[in-house]
Homo-oligomer: 259 residues x 2
């Protein structure tokens, strides 16, 4: 399959502009909230509505593509051949519900398993991070300055709260070597921080739609994206992932304990 | 001493507007960074410059007032009589240095020990939270809707990272009862979240200048501000403080362990 990465990038940016506009209108509205795996795993009517909209627009424009998405309106995808989109309609649903800020919407495009284009909108900040290795990286229309390859001691790290509090994988030793610990509560928001050098590492248990767009963008920025056991990333399953500058990820991998 | 709280409020807002303008210009500049108590306790040339400017403006307008401030340009204050200003020129210096966002500047005014006016600027967001019990609460020129008295189970909590990671005072049990844990890394930024209902509790070890403005504002919003041993707040010393909705603070006090 031949694809035009510039055309896909443009399409995803315009799609996320529409999503952003709609979610900003919805952010203050009363939401219908359900729980999924536990009382703090939320889904709202707006997650579902947004995913239906995004998936139908993608199918309309790219009829041969398959879609992996969070809320169940995607395809059953068992291999990465062809053009595959990963859709997270609202990333950081807890922030969407409780704060009304620091939530994102994300789409990642892969071709035959290879990262192609990522697009993430910080909805309330109204900034879209997008691009890929071929076409470069942008915030809205401006090129992103690639962040410096800082070591752990010089940067802030964001780690999933349950993992950090329970010191899973000995992660508190990673945190102690850093400049400080932050928890923003949305992978998409944190990928934006990594791309602009505000944080140097993110570690969390991520589903494919949590990781897909951020992986494309961070790899294109020269950062490392690895699974905690240093195995290749598998885009069809959930896994514990470390994303960050090359120096930080290599320090983190020597500090975490996986058994 | 008679004071006009409306006049003080207006003065502090204008002062913080100037501070904000100057710090936004400085946020991207190269900073001269020193450490204080440990390698992650930072102070920059801009903290010092801002404090000198704020203190001199306050002394010019309120010559009989005394000033308690972070970087050493204030007075030696041993009691709370008369008009006392608490100044934190840059709150969240680590965020200022590493992120260039989510840092604040804060001024709290007390009269004979009683909270009078608080003013906090989210510098990069360019929002000033200000007011007090007498005159009401504002974001810039708009009145703040007092946040609802939510219980712990319905809101996000922000706890100082070292305290949360080490489970000091059994605080992880408080976190587990909440909707989720966030770490934004600046007291001033978090007070803004509390005042707008984005978070329901903040717990940290705070110096007088970290707490002064936020205490005025949060108490005026009907929230509770207590020391962890439920003793009265002492504005002339550092202490572990819990700030939040009345329901949350009362739940937190029954969950934390201080011995």
């Amino acid at each position: 399959m031949t694809v035009d990465s510039r055309e896909i990038d443009k399409f995803l940016v315009e799609l996320l502009q529409n999503v952003g506009k709609s979610l900003r209108d919805d952010a203050l509205k009363k939401k219908s909230v359900d729980t999924k795996k536990n009382r703090n795993d939320l889904v709202t009517n707006f997650d579902k509505k947004t995913e239906r909209y995004v998936n139908s627009e993608l199918k309309r424009a790219f009829s041969e593509a398959t879609i992996v998405s969070e809320e169940g309106y995607g395809d059953l995808v068992t291999d990465m051949s062809g053009l595959v989109f990963f859709v997270d309609p609202i990333d950081g649903t807890m922030n969407f519900v409780k704060r009304g800020d620091d939530f994102a919407s994300m789409i990642g495009a892969y071709i035959d398993g290879k990262p192609l284009i990522g697009a993430i909108i910080d909805v309330m900040g109204n900034n879209i991070y997008h691009g890929g290795k071929e076409i470069g990286l942008f915030i809205n229309d401006e090129r992103i300055d690639i962040p410096r390859n800082l070591p752990l001691v010089e940067g802030l790290v964001d780690v999933s709260a349950p993992m950090a509090l329970a010191n899973k994988f000995n992660v508190q030793d990673v945190i102690k070597k850093s400049s400080g610990f932050r928890v923003y509560g949305s992978a998409g928001i944190i990928f934006g921080h990594l791309l602009t050098g505000k944080e140097v590492m993110y570690m969390s248990y991520l589903a494919p739609w949590d990781l897909a767009a951020g992986r494309v963008l961070c790899e294109a920025a020269g950062m490392s994206v690895v699974s905690i056991d240093d195995a290749p990333i598998n885009m069809l399953k959930s896994q514990v992932v470390i994303v960050g500058t090359q120096k930080v990820v290599s320090e983190a991998l020597t500090t975490v304990k996986t058994r």
